[in-house]
Symmetry: C2
Subunit: 365 residues, 2 copies
Amino acid sequence: MTHRDPVLMGPGPCNPYPEVMEAYARPVLGHLDPDFIALMDEVGDRLRQVFQTTNQLTFAVSGTGSAGMEAAFVNFVGPGDTVVVGVNGVFGGRMCDVAARCGAEVVRVDAPWGAPIDPNDLIDAHPSPKMIAVVHAETSTGVRNDLATLGAKKGDALLLADCVTSLGGIDLRIDEWGVDIAYSGTQKCLGVPPGLAPLTVSDRALTHLRETPQSWYLDLNMIAKYVTGGDGARAYHHTAPISSLYGIHAGLGALLDEGLEASFARHQAVGDALQAGLVDRGFELFAAEGNRLPQLTSVWVPEDRLPDGATEADVRRSLLLDYGVEIGGGLGDLAGKGWRIGLMGHTARMRNVQLLLASLDDILV
Amino acid sequence: MTHRDPVLMGPGPCNPYPEVMEAYARPVLGHLDPDFIALMDEVGDRLRQVFQTTNQLTFAVSGTGSAGMEAAFVNFVGPGDTVVVGVNGVFGGRMCDVAARCGAEVVRVDAPWGAPIDPNDLIDAHPSPKMIAVVHAETSTGVRNDLATLGAKKGDALLLADCVTSLGGIDLRIDEWGVDIAYSGTQKCLGVPPGLAPLTVSDRALTHLRETPQSWYLDLNMIAKYVTGGDGARAYHHTAPISSLYGIHAGLGALLDEGLEASFARHQAVGDALQAGLVDRGFELFAAEGNRLPQLTSVWVPEDRLPDGATEADVRRSLLLDYGVEIGGGLGDLAGKGWRIGLMGHTARMRNVQLLLASLDDILV
């Protein structure tokens, strides 16, 4: 089969940084090899810089972003615990599902898709929750939710943030904002193929760590002895996905070489350019002004600009197969009527904005 | 840092097939891209051939082998279910832990490490268990347990087999032997870096599938709609680890091009040669004769052959850093006194047997 190489402007995965693909090709080492342990330690150091935290327990979970979500819940929440969850998109809804499977009492706080959640609604939802959970950057809508206000007002609750789409693309200050537990994914603004879930846990959260979480695979008591074992021997838990760790190590290196602020500015510039270009062409932006993500743009597709008889899905398919550009379909109200367009990691380049807009000019009527 | 490329003769990971590393370098596609869906379907077809099964639900779990173990339990076992577990090594013990976290009543049947489990002991342990679980090839001891007898006598119980170290290296007949649920890992006899867990589930087992397993990430109800969605649209569950799927696709291709029987014969030949060579040199084999795995050899190290003042760990370290060969330390009674030596996947070559024996001749006194 011919190997197509589309420009990946969907909601993730993005195109990986070239350095990442080189790293994947490196010889496999054993999971207890001293050079691999050193690399894993560097991954932790680099993740701390990107998360803007000093949390010791900061590492990459051996699964995709959703495994990070599950690790963040099962280790801290059990039967009878109250968890307040903000829902203004798919991933907030997923958090409710995961928390409920831990036996938690879920207090669900909805906000309209496309609008941000008012942090005060979460604070006021319950007098003494064990945890307040919210998505920082909703991949299903392109909306940013406010973490800093939640951190300032959380009281004794643990603040859990889904940072799958935010990490590396927009400002995220774990320590300064008072986020206790945060997870991400590799295939968004980190510019790495999917497969790992960066996770960071505050010392305060660790005092709430469950002794025997319902998941063995994601049990932080045991994983911590492997990933942050200090200078001594590391206790084997499960075999780390070696090549994927090479990948995230290189991706984080590329990001930090560029600089966090420069990466945020790059994502903002290309997002602004794309959103302006789409509005010029008759698209209506879905996410509320003031809380729009630059790295994930959601839009209503103007029906009168679709080619005769074509649906929005036909246009996406033509973009993918004829023009070599992948974008994502809409979810919720946007399903069948809108698109989600990512500009994340290595894909967040002005040339890709130009390519997509020029291709749309070619296809639309 | 210089990239060392040791020969990986530990208990896994092995060295990947060259085709696998080429596949990792392929351009990333989206997880709903038609070419990626086609590749995922081929991974399923190839896994069915290697598992020797027609089970429709056969795919690679997005995590390492231990995630496969957890998926195998959480989807079928819940509070109050009786699970009989055979334990003659680390991984049988891990099964007890995972089953207990699902709320199961665990009936643990121990056999001495190094010896196989008598299948009748498992059959007789409980009159009507929900599940009988056993490790096919114990990575901690190098022993093969009998699955065929268990399958013939299981009655209404579901038979679950850990095939992490067996798949691709020794004969494994899921359908013929009556195994209902089996999982594996990529980094053993499949010759692929760690990161995925092949899983196969019989139609009979699917009638016992729990409606809402405690794990969202490993929920087979939802995953099945993505990995075996037929010709129609695939329902997104989580973002598949694209590059890792390329890797297993290529590794399974290499294995099937060689042929299953040829692969088994190759593993047997190199294992026999290694075991004979070690006995010649004064090592005592740990696993009981008749149930020794060719792909994982466990041995007592002859103390009188260690260099003056050196421990077995010193010799392993010298093998790794001076000779470029990784082998594994012992577990249980073998800790500090024995080794585990793997010859798996691409590593199962006579040249590697020669290299290790020659290196030992150089080091030992």
